[in-house]
């Protein structure tokens, strides 16, 4: 072990630390310890002069270890690691002691706080003695991308990547492209045709040589890690026999979309029993055929649209499916333009008109004399067949919130605005690409606000409604965002794997395989020939589960080794 030269820097953080911790007492207590080359206290270590002081001291005193006693490492560990790097010292040879959030801010007794600060600093010094320089690894980044799902999201992402001259494998389970958007006639709020949106995309996808389109295909398995995935795609061709094809990709965009809520699950609405109760998608088919009529071929005099079917209630899904309100207004317009004498009632919970042009669309729908009736989301309306002397097919009974009356609404045709829910097989897709799902089954993004298209698994991106209900603009935006993220990584060519991960010492591993099953990221492979386990650095997230569980102590947790933690325990109790 080279002769230790440790630099200790104790921060006042203005008065945040100095107010309760006698910083100079800590410095004096630490100065005399073995291996300490220099010990300083300073007003703001994280300031530029503070960081420059560290870099300068490293160069002047040839420091080979640095301890910074200041705020929480979650706050400035990166800052001080960079300071060490600027001073020419490997960033992992730096350790922080949290004497602010977990000391001065929470203990007003100055004596006790100072004693604790000494102990925490002493522990950091003990630990840093055993720190080893770590280099982050790099791995090649395969420029090809796998896009799962041929809907508007998948098409957009594929085009974005292919237009940047990169190979794309577009896998679609069904025989046609377009996904859910293909089942829609017009789109809200400008009533432009969904077919035009799709045909433009599909023709460009079919024309683009860099996109390998695989219809009737499914992802069979995905192995490897970011930049180096091996995907096996299974295709059923016309005659029913199955081919499998292995493709190497660097990243995966999951754009598997959503499935509509089964309206039959709400017995009150009578879907499936009453002929003239249709779901929004069934009504879209009517629109695409260009003829709005009841099952008996009659022009409906009364039409009713019921919102939030399956969404926003305790029994089925608590979330709002975001697109149904504007779609319902679109139907009101289309009903009125098809038959001006038709009286349209729109039975809703709240009118979510959040997007561009939505509020105006809502206003124009009022102006065409749509009757808006509000109900409480957990007191759903009840649909029943009308009596012989009623002038309508069905009657909808509901407690109307705005007038607080119990009313009966006449309806010849009822359109149920079915919500979105996670696809029944989303669990399998999640396991295949190793991403997690929230309790509603939607795929979980890495950070809801800061990182919506990435997942906690590097190289796996999610776009569109497979992550949560959203409308076409958001879906396209996310598809392009995912593509942009991937293009950024491809442009860099290499991926940097953080230096902190687990490492098996093959001379010590007995092949007992205790660790194999413990890793949630399946980053540990067992080599049958050598009968040894091996950790894939890129896939390892450094949680340390295998390090703690290896009975031979053969797995070393870089930056969290047994020696470092033992030293820290002894140090904190000194």
């Amino acid at each position: 072990m080279e002769e230790l030269k440790i630099g200790v820097f104790i921060c006042n953080c203005g008065s945040n630390i100095a107010h309760h911790v006698d910083v100079d007492a800590v410095r004096e207590a630490v100065e005399a310890m073995p291996g300490i080359a220099i010990a300083r206290s300073y007003k703001y270590m994280c300031s530029n002069p503070g960081q420059e002081m560290i870099a300068r001291d490293i160069r002047e005193h040839q420091l080979n270890r640095v301890v910074v006693a200041a705020c929480s490492p979650r706050m400035h560990e990166k800052t001080f690691r960079n300071a060490c790097r600027n001073g020419g010292l490997n960033p992992y040879l730096c350790e922080m002691a949290n004497i602010r959030e977990q000391c001065s801010w929470v203990h007003s007794d100055q004596l006790a706080a100072t004693e604790k600060a000494k102990a925490l600093t002493n522990a950091a010094i003990n630990r840093v003695r055993y720190h080893e320089p770590l280099e982050s690894l790099t791995a090649e980044m395969c420029p090809a991308t796998l896009v799962i799902g041929g809907g508007i999201a998948g098409l957009t992402a594929a085009l974005e990547l292919a237009d940047a001259a990169h190979q794309v494998y577009l896998v679609e389970r069904t025989a046609t492209l377009g996904g859910n958007l293909a089942r829609v006639d017009l789109t809200a709020p400008h009533l432009d045709s969904a077919r035009d949106l799709l045909t433009e995309r599909i023709t460009r996808v079919r024309a683009n040589s860099r996109i390998t389109l695989m219809l009737n295909s499914e992802l069979q398995s995905l192995a490897g890690y970011v930049g180096n995935y091996a995907a096996i795609i299974r295709t059923k061709n016309g005659s029913g026999e199955v081919q499998e094809r292995k493709v190497d990709v660097g990243n995966v965009v999951v754009a598997t979309g959503y499935q509509e809520f089964d309206a039959g699950r709400i017995t009150h609405y009578g879907h499936g029993k009453l002929p003239n109760v249709v779901t929004s998608f069934e009504f879209e088919q009517m629109l695409r055929k260009g003829r709005i009529e009841t099952r008996h071929g009659k022009l409906p005099q009364y039409a009713a649209i019921i919102h939030c079917v399956g969404s926003r209630n305790k029994e089925f899904h608590p979330y709002c499916s975001r697109v149904c309100c504007m779609t319902a207004l679109k139907y009101a317009h289309e009903l009125k333009s098809a038959n001006p004498a038709c009286y349209v009632s729109d039975i809703y919970v709240d009118m979510h008109a959040f997007g561009k042009g939505h509020e105006d669309f809502y206003k124009t729908t009022s102006e065409v004399k749509t009757l808006f009736l509000m109900f409480e989301k957990n007191e759903r309306p009840v649909v029943r067949k009308a009596g012989p002397n009623d002038d309508c097919e069905m009657l909808i009974e509901v407690n109307e919130t705005l007038s607080r009356e119990r009313i009966e609404i006449p309806a010849d045709l009822i359109i149920l605005m079915v919500g979105m829910e996670a696809r029944a097989d989303s669990g399998e897709v999640a396991r295949l690409v190793n991403i997690s799902q929230d309790q509603e089954g939607w795929f979980m993004e890495s950070h809801p606000k800061l990182d919506p298209v990435a997942t906690t698994t590097d190289g796996i991106y999610i776009a569109g409604t497979c992550a949560a209900p959203k409308d076409i603009p958001d879906t396209v935006a996310q598809a392009r965002a995912a593509a942009a993220r991937i293009l950024g990584k491809i442009a860099k060519g290499k991926i940097e794997i953080d230096g902190v991960f687990a490492e098996v010492n093959e001379d010590r591993c007995s092949g007992c395989r205790m660790c194999n099953e413990l890793c949630p990221y399946s980053a540990i492979e067992f080599n049958d020939q050598t009968r040894r386990s091996h950790v894939i650095p890129a896939a390892c997230k450094a949680c340390g589960a295998c390090v703690a569980a290896c009975p031979s102590g053969a797995i070393k947790g870089r930056h969290f080794t047994v020696e470092q933690l033992h030293a820290q325990i002894d140090g904190v109790l000194a």
Partner: protein, 320 residues
């Protein structure tokens, strides 16, 4: 001139004598040893007396094999004596190296031991309950017997030890290897463990190993074992994955879980705690109540985890 014969000595502290027998188990090889070495002191086999050892000059002995733990003042006295008289002192066998089976006494207090042995034992007729004392008057003379320490110590706790040979007892071929190494002078750096592998027993165990998920633990007699499959996967306690190999996998090969007599792997400071960490991690449940139920299948786990190494454990004894 003929090489001077090696002067060796063997002694047994708080031991069962198994280690001494293990030396004899090297069969004819012992004759080769006898050919090159003089056994100056080996209470179980030759008639050497303490006075003979005290008469030796310091370092006269080339090698001393000390097996058995340090349980009373006599063990410590002889250990210190042999340390002074021999160039190389070897803690021979699990007792000397880690405290061994006698070391389990550290889980109870000295008074409990004496009470169980001399007072509340079923075979003691009432009225005849005498507890041995360090000094007692018999027939007008004072009789002194070694004092019974309040806990068991390892050899290294009382004297400096040059090498450690694990095993209960060390396998005969390991004994042979150690003796040959000493004869040839090819010994590794002082303080290291010899006569054992640097990998766990699983490395040599022939049973097939697959992913470990345990739903329940059983005693060996409770289930019909699959002799070709890893024992712990079948819920039978086996410490092989946390114990040095070198014993020739004797216990697992006879359908009995390894008990860890060869001690922890290098770098592991607490044998029992390391095994606990591994074993608990593979319990296949995410529900606290179910986990407690599964762990009920491990009664008195501390005695299994530190069967051969209580004095070597981090806490070394109980603090009741």
């Amino acid at each position: 001139m003929a090489a001077k014969k090696l002067q060796i000595a063997l002694y047994w502290g708080a031991a069962c004598g198994g280690c001494d027998v293990a030396v004899l188990d090297t069969n004819e090889f012992i004759l080769d040893v006898a050919a090159v070495a003089d056994v100056r002191f080996w209470p179980i086999a030759v008639d050497g007396k303490y006075s003979d050892v005290e008469a030796m000059s310091d370092g006269e002995l080339d090698l001393a094999l000390f097996d058995g733990a340090v349980r009373n003042s006599e063990n410590e006295h002889v250990a210190k004596l042999l340390r002074a008289k021999s160039k190389v002192l070897v803690a021979f066998g699990s007792c000397a190296y880690m405290g061994g089976i006698p070391g389990l006494a550290n889980l109870v207090t000295k008074d409990e031991i004496l009470a169980t042995a001399y007072l509340s034992n079923a075979s003691i007729e009432p009225g005849n309950q005498t507890v041995p004392r360090a000094r007692s008057a018999v027939d007008g003379m004072t009789l002194e017997i070694p004092s019974f320490y309040r806990r068991v110590y390892r050899l290294q706790d009382v004297v400096d030890v040059d090498y450690f040979v694990p095993g209960c007892p060390p396998a005969p071929d390991q004994v042979k290897a150690v003796l040959l190494a000493v004869v040839k002078g090819e010994l590794p750096p002082r303080g290291s463990v010899v006569g054992a592998s640097e990998r766990a027993v699983c490395d040599d165990c022939k049973r097939t190993k697959s992913e470990k998920k345990v739903k329940s633990f059983h005693r060996p007699f409770e289930i019909i074992q699959d002799s070709s499959r890893c024992l712990i996967e079948q819920g039978i306690l086996c410490m092989g994955s946390a114990t040095r190999s070198g014993c020739g996998v004797r216990c697992p090969n006879s359908n009995q879980g390894c008990r860890g007599c060869y001690g922890p792997l290098p770098g592991v400071s607490d044998h029992g705690a390391k095994f606990l960490s591994a074993l608990a991690s593979i319990v296949d449940s995410k529900d606290p109540k179910e986990i407690e139920h599964i762990l009920d299948g491990l009664p008195d786990f501390i005695s299994f985890a530190y069967r051969f190494g209580m004095p070597a454990s981090t806490l070394q004894r109980s603090y009741k």
